[in-house]
C-alpha cells in the first residue's frame, strides 16, 4: 500500500512539476541570450491561459486528435508511477520492465504522429512522420544499451537493476558503463531537445504535430512533453546512477532519496540546458549519421559484455 501511495504521489507530482522543468529551461535560455527573460513559473501561466481558450481543431480532424493529449499525459503518468525515483526499487514493479517502458513510449508516439495526419495539415503530418522516424533510428540504440544492462544485471526490471548497481554486483562493469553512455545519449535524442528537435525543423513545421492544437489540447501537450523528458531522465538515473536513493520505506530514507533525486534531476537539467544552448539543429537528412554513431557506442558496450569485462 505504501508503495502504491509513493507511485501515486510520483505520478501527480510529475504532472504538477513538469512545467517547472520547461520553465527553468526557458529562463536559462533567456540568460544565455543575455535577455531578462520570463520567470521560471511562466509555463504555469501559459498553461492556465491556454486552458481558458477555445479548443480549436481543423474541420477534418477526428477523435484521434481529441484523445491524443490526455493519452500522452496518461502514458507518462503510468510510466512515472512505475519508475524508481526517490526509492531504489520500483513502487509498482510490473510497470518497470524495460521492454514495457520502451513500448509504452511507442503508444503516445503512435497517436502523436497520427494526430498530425488526422488534422489534415501537411506540415503537422510531416512533423509526425519525422517523430516516428526518429523513433526508428533511436530505438535500436536504446534496446541494445538496455539489453547489455539487462545481461550485466541479470534482470529486465529497472528497479532490480538499480539495486544490483547499488550493491556493486554487476557482472561486466565496463560494458555496463559504456551502455550507460549510449543510453544517456539515446535518451537525450529521444527527449527531442536541440539539436534533435527534428519534428519542428523547418519554418513551416514550427511545433511539428502541435501546430494544429490549441487551447486545452495544447496546454496538455505543454505538460506532457516535459513529462516525457523527466521520465527518460529518471529511467537513466534509476538504472545507471541509483546511488543515494532510498533502499527501504523508512521516512528518513525516503526524505534523503527525494532530495538526492531532485539534485540529480537538476544536474541533468543543467547539462541538457547547456547542451541545447550550445548547438544548432542537425540537418534532417544527417540525423541518421549521428544515431548510428550512438548505436556504435552501444555495440562497443555489447562487445565488452560478450568479453565479460
Amino acid at each position: 500500500m505504501a508503495e502504491f501511495i509513493i507511485a501515486l504521489v510520483q505520478g501527480i507530482l510529475l504532472v504538477l512539476l513538469a512545467p517547472l522543468a520547461s520553465g527553468i529551461a526557458r529562463w536559462f535560455r533567456a540568460k544565455v541570450h543575455t535577455r531578462k527573460g520570463p520567470s521560471i513559473f511562466q509555463d504555469y501561466r501559459d498553461i492556465a491561459k491556454l486552458l481558458k481558450r477555445q479548443d480549436v481543431h481543423s474541420n477534418v480532424s477526428s477523435r484521434v486528435s481529441r484523445i491524443m493529449p490526455p493519452l500522452y499525459i496518461g502514458c507518462m503518468i503510468v510510466l512515472g508511477m512505475g519508475m524508481p525515483m526517490a526509492t531504489r526499487f520500483s513502487p509498482i514493479p510490473f510497470l518497470a520492465d524495460i521492454i514495457l517502458v520502451i513500448y509504452m513510449l511507442a503508444l503516445p508516439r503512435f497517436f502523436f504522429a497520427l494526430s498530425g495526419i488526422d488534422s489534415g495539415d501537411a506540415y503537422a503530418g510531416t512533423g509526425g512522420v519525422r517523430e516516428l522516424i526518429m523513433g526508428t533510428l533511436i530505438e535500436p540504440s536504446l534496446m541494445l544499451a538496455l539489453f547489455v544492462a539487462a545481461i550485466a544485471c541479470g534482470t529486465t526490471n529497472v528497479g532490480t537493476m538499480g539495486q544490483m548497481v547499488g550493491a556493486g554486483t554487476v557482472q561486466s562493469p565496463i560494458a555496463f558503463v559504456i551502455a550507460g553512455i549510449a543510453f544517456a545519449v539515446a535518451c537525450y535524442i529521444e527527449m527531442g531537445k536541440l539539436p534533435y528537435d527534428e519534428a519542428e525543423a523547418e519554418q513551416e513545421l514550427q511545433e511539428g504535430p502541435l501546430q494544429e492544437l490549441s487551447g486545452p489540447s495544447l496546454a496538455m501537450m505543454h505538460i506532457a512533453v516535459p513529462m516525457k523528458q523527466v521520465v527518460l531522465a529518471s529511467m537513466f538515473v534509476a538504472i545507471f546512477l541509483p546511488f543515494g536513493s532510498a533502499v527501504d520505506l523508512s521516512v528518513a530514507g525516503l526524505a534523503v532519496g527525494t532530495v538526492v533525486y531532485l539534485v540529480k534531476m537538476v544536474v541533468i537539467l543543467v547539462v541538457t540546458m547547456v547542451i541545447e544552448n550550445c548547438v544548432s539543429r542537425v540537418r534532417w537528412k544527417f540525423v541518421g549519421h549521428q544515431t548510428w554513431f550512438v548505436f556504435a557506442i552501444a555495440v562497443c558496450a555489447f562487445a565488452f559484455c560478450v568479453l565479460g569485462i
Binding site: V15, I77, R130, L132, G288
Partner: protein, 667 residues
Amino acid sequence: MQLFLISLAVSGVGALLALFTSKSEQTGKVLGCTAGTIASLFAIASGIGAITGPIQTTTAAMPFFAFSLRLDPLAGILITVISVLAFAAWVYGFSYFDDYKGKGIGVMCFFMNLFIASMDCVIAVDNVFWFLVFFELMSLTSYFLVVVEQNEASIKGGFMYFIMAHIGFIMITISFLIMASVTGSFEFAAFRTTHFAPGIASVCFILAFLGFGFKAGMVPFHSWLPMAHPAAPSNVSALMSGGMIKIGIFGIIKVGFDLLGASTPEMWWGIVVLLFGAVSSVLGVAYALAEHDIKRLLAYHSVENIGIILLGVGVALIGWAANQPLLAVLGLLAGLFHLINHAMFKGLLFLGAGSVLYATGTRNMEILGGLRKAMPTTAICFLIGSLAISAIPPLNGFVSEWFTYQGLITAAMTGDGIIKLVCAFGAVMLAITGALAVTCFVKAYGITFLGAARSDVAANAKEVPAPMRIAMVVLAVICIFLGIGAPLVVPALTQAAAVIAGQAAIDSASGAMLVNPVIDATISTPLLAVLLIAAVFIPWGIIKAKSTGGVSEEPDPWACGYYPSADMPLVANSVGAQVKMFWHPLYAMRDGLASQAPGYARAFKGIQNWAYKVQNWGDFLLVDPIAKFVDATAKLSSKLEGGDFRVYICYIVVALVVFLVLAIAII
C-alpha cells in the same frame, strides 16, 4: 476427435453443395458459407479441447496408407487459430462474396471449404503420405482462390505462388523420405520414437525448415507472398496470411520438436532459425512501408510477423539444444502466442482492407482518406488491429513480443558468446521492426481513414453490411481479450508448449501477472489497462472541467496561408520516401531478393522447354524402332496381299496341294 471429423464432413458436404448449386450464385453462397461457418464452429470446439486435453489418435485402415489422425496440443492450437479465422472469414463472406458476382461464387465457396478442410487435415494427419497429399491439396485450392479474379496480376501472382509452393513441397518431401527410409515406415509415430544420427537429423531439419519456410514466406523466400495474397478475395487473404502461412511454422515446430523429438538437437538449428527470423522481420516491415496498396502492405507485414514467430521458435530450439527446459518452453510460448496473435490481428486487418475495397473499389491508399466518417466500425476495428500489430501495450501483439524479448534476453544471459551475439542481433532487429511497424501503421491507418477524402470514391463510401462488420468486431474483441486477458490464456498455452517441447510446465503467469520465471521479470496487462484508463481519463476530466473555452471544429487546416486543398496533406508515398532516405540499405537488398521468384519462374519455363524436347527421346529410342519394324512388316505383307483375286486363288490352290502332300506323307 468426433467433433473434428464432423467438421471435416460438414466442410466436404458444404463444398459439394456449393459446387452443385453454383448455377444460382446466391444459393451457392448461402449454402457454402453456412456449411463453412458450422464446420468452423465444430473445429474450434475440437481444437480448444486438444490444446490442454490428452493426445487423441485414430486410425482408419486404407488400402494404400493407413489414414491416421492425431490431435495433440500443437495441432489443437493451429486448428483453433485457423477455425476462428475461418469462422470470421465465412461470416464476412455472406456479404463480401456479393462483390464477386459473375465470377463463380459457388465455385469459390467450393474451393474455400476444401482449402480450410485440407489445412485442418494437414495439421491433424499423422502419416507422411496423407500429410503430403493434403499439403498439396491446400496449395492447389488456395491457388484457385488466388486466380479467381482472372486478371493479369492475379494470374501472375498465382503462378509465382504455385512455383514457390512446389519448391518447398519438394524439399519437405525429400526430408520426409529420408526419415522414412531410415525408419522404414511412413507413420509419423515411427519418426517420433526413432533416434536419427546427428548428420541425418540435421539434413532433415534444414530441408524441412527451408521447405516450410517457402510456405511461411520467410525472407528470402517471401517474394510470392505480396503477389499472391492481395490477389485473392480479402477473406481468403485473411485465411492465407493469418492461417495458411502458419502451416509453415507448424511444420518447422513439428519437425523440430515432434518428429525429431527423440534425436539430439544441434545448437546451430536454433541459431539458423533465429537469424532467418531476425532478417525476415526487419525486411518485411521495411518493404511494407514502401507500399501504397493496402493489401500488399499487409502481406509484407506477414513476412515481418513470421520473422517474429521464428525468433521465438529459434530461442526454443536453442534452449532445447542447451538442455534448458525453461528457456525452451519460454521460447515456444512466445512463438506460439505470437502465431495466434498474428492470425487474429492480421485476419482483422485483411478483413478491414476488404471492407475498404468493398466500399470504395480500390486498394490504393493514395486516393482514399477520410473513411472514418463514412465507415466508423471499420475504422475502429482497423485501428485496434493497427495498434495490436504495432505491439502497443496492453494489446496482444505486445504480450507475445514481450515474451519474445524475454526469451532472447534469457538465452543471452545463459548462453556463450555466439548465443549472446545472435540474441542481441535478434533483439535489435526486433526493436527496429517494432519502431518501423508503428510508422507503417500510422501511415496505413492515417492515410486511409483520417484526414480529408482525396477522391470521389472515398468521399462517397458507405459502411459495409452487418455480416462484414460482425466478423471484424469478433476479431477485434479477440485481439483485445488476448492482450488484456493474457494472464488467462498464457497458462494453457504454456502447458501446451511444455507438452510440445516434452518438458515440465513453467509458471509464466500468476494471478494478473505475466512472468518470465527464469529471471523473474513481471508485467501485467490487465492492471496496466486499468491504470492507463484511470491516468488518461481522470486528468482529462479535470482539465475539461477547468477549461471554459468550448470546442470548435470549424476552421480548415493551416496551409501556410494558402487555400487548403485535398492534394496538400500527406500521402503514403511521402512517408515511404522519408523512411527510404534513412534506411536505404534495406531497400537496396530488395531488388536482389525480389528477382528470386521470377528467377524460379524462368527456371520453371526452362524446365518446361527442356521437357518439350525431352519428351521425344522416348519416341526415338522405344516407340520409333517398333513403329519402323511394324511398318516394314506391313510393307512385306502388302506384297503378299496384292488385292488381286487371282493371286488369292493361287494361294488357296498352293495351300490345298501342301495339305494334300502333308496328309499323304503322314498316312
